[in-house]
């Protein structure tokens, strides 16, 4: 089968491309859209490193075909930055509270945390654990990741300083 045309919105910008049906959305984002912030981990839906927001909800990009994203709105980790490209509140909190070690899981953690904080800026510990339950950190830096999300939530509640 020949390649199919895809048009979609990524991080607020209209984008388009061609994809074989078998191409995953993850490979399309990294290879064709040059958005390699989304990480390739297990490629079978276990690790969460490739998490993105699809029409506002977190999903695994390795478990979607690129052609299935036709017409969708996607946010990747690059889309969490401010308009000037500087880190957003959540990313800043990860830097400050040491929410990463090797950094491999970080894009997925950020996406899961972003989805949580968009709905709830005062999450309980259990809610945070549940939100990142599908993201593996092989450095096992979970405590600092949770503290980073709590810091970001605090700053969101306090509003712009």
């Amino acid at each position: 089968m020949s390649k199919l045309a895809i048009s979609l919105t990524i991080n607020g910008r209209k984008r388009g491309g061609l994809a074989e049906p078998r191409l995953s959305l993850l490979d399309f984002l990294r290879g064709d859209m040059a958005l390699d912030g989304t990480h390739t981990g297990c490629e079978h839906g276990v690790c969460g490193a490739c998490s993105i927001l699809l029409d506002g909800v977190p999903v695994r990009a390795c478990l979607l075909l690129a052609v299935q994203a036709e017409g969708c709105h996607i946010t990747t980790v690059e889309g969490l930055c401010g308009a000037d490209g500087a880190p957003g509140i959540l990313q800043d909190a990860f830097i400050e509270a040491h929410g990463m070690q090797c950094g491999y899981c970080t894009p997925g953690m950020l996406i899961s945390a972003q989805a949580l904080l968009a709905e709830n800026d005062d999450p309980s510990l259990e809610q945070i654990k549940d939100a990142i339950g599908g993201n593996l950190c092989r450095c096992t830096g979970y405590v600092q990741i949770i503290e980073s999300i709590q810091l970001a939530a605090l700053r969101l509640r306090e509003g712009p300083s």
Partner: protein, 289 residues
């Protein structure tokens, strides 16, 4: 970890789906949420010639009460089912079970029908649906047939669905009067497939006599398994914690558990009885006035 080549159809109607499956003659496969099929494609355990995408078939999505049934259309997302007030009210056992299914990222895509089609012997939705006496409707170019889940699961990842059929909905009978339910499982991490799981339903008459007793075990047999001998012992009697405990030995006789990297068969039988007791006690606690 890249799928082999396949052709792709984005279907817009069930008619289009079943025509494609019929022409595909066993080489075509349906993709719904893709949370199971995509890994199988990536690992090349599945190598279909044609993938038929049902995500845009509007008639395959939604939850509704029709007559004396609650109907969940096949492509309904697990996340939507988990949040559904209709499911909370009419089939709370299913809501309890879906809370154990995967993570938010997978529930946002994964579907109720997909879980029933894949029929993993340890998965939660088939277990809860079997316990609730649900049935599935399967459609092909020849028409629609309804199959009770008791006749639907044939073995690990094997069901009565033919290659040219698509699962269009699952039907849950509505029960009159108060019903208690319980669901417990053991898994390595929250969100993983269960090593063993137990689902229970109990309803009592006004005089406290057990009118309905249903217990099923997942992960300890080639398919989710009702424990009919235990149900028979409880039904028609006045039940308490002691009666439940004394009926638990019936469980082992109904199961032939396998062994894998998670647990051996003896462990599964032991845990099945413990989880069954917890699920039945929860159900009894809810059922008692």
């Amino acid at each position: 970890m890249k799928p082999a080549k396949f052709d792709y159809i984005l279907a817009e109607s069930v008619d289009q789906v079943v025509e494609a499956l019929d022409k595909g003659a066993g080489e075509a496969i349906v993709i719904a949420g893709g949370q199971t099929l995509m890994p199988m494609l990536a690992m090349r355990l599945a190598r279909p010639a044609l993938v038929v995408d049902i995500n845009h078939v509007a008639e395959l999505s939604g939850i509704e009460v029709v007559g004396d049934e609650l109907i969940i259309k096949a492509c309904t997302r697990q996340a939507d089912a988990l949040a559904s007030p209709l499911i909370q009210r009419h089939v709370p056992l299913l809501a309890k079970a879906i809370a154990f299914v995967g993570h938010q990222q997978t529930r946002n895509r994964g579907t109720v029908g997909g879980s029933l089609s894949h029929a993993d012997p340890a998965s939660e939705i088939p277990l809860a649906a079997l316990t609730l006496d649900a049935s599935v409707s399967l459609r092909s170019v020849a028409g629609t047939r309804v199959v009770a889940l008791a006749d639907y699961f044939l073995g690990p990842m094997m069901t009565a669905r033919a290659d040219n059929e698509v699962l269009v909905a699952v039907h849950f009978p509505l029960r009159a009067g108060p019903v208690g339910t319980g669901f417990h499982e053991v898994s390595e991490r929250r969100g993983d497939f269960a090593v063993v799981a137990a689902a229970a339903v109990i309803a009592l008459n006004g005089d406290g006599i057990c009118r309905t007793a249903a217990l099923a075990i997942g992960g300890a047999h080639g398919m989710p398994r009702r424990i009919a001998a235990l149900e028979d012992r409880l039904r028609g009697s006045r039940i308490d914690a002691h009666a439940i405990r004394s009926a638990l030995p019936e469980i082992a006789g109904a199961l032939e558990p396998g062994a894998d990297q998670h647990a051996d068969g003896a462990y599964r039988l032991r845990v099945a009885a413990i989880l069954a007791e917890r699920a039945l006690l929860d159900a009894l606690g809810e059922a008692a006035p």
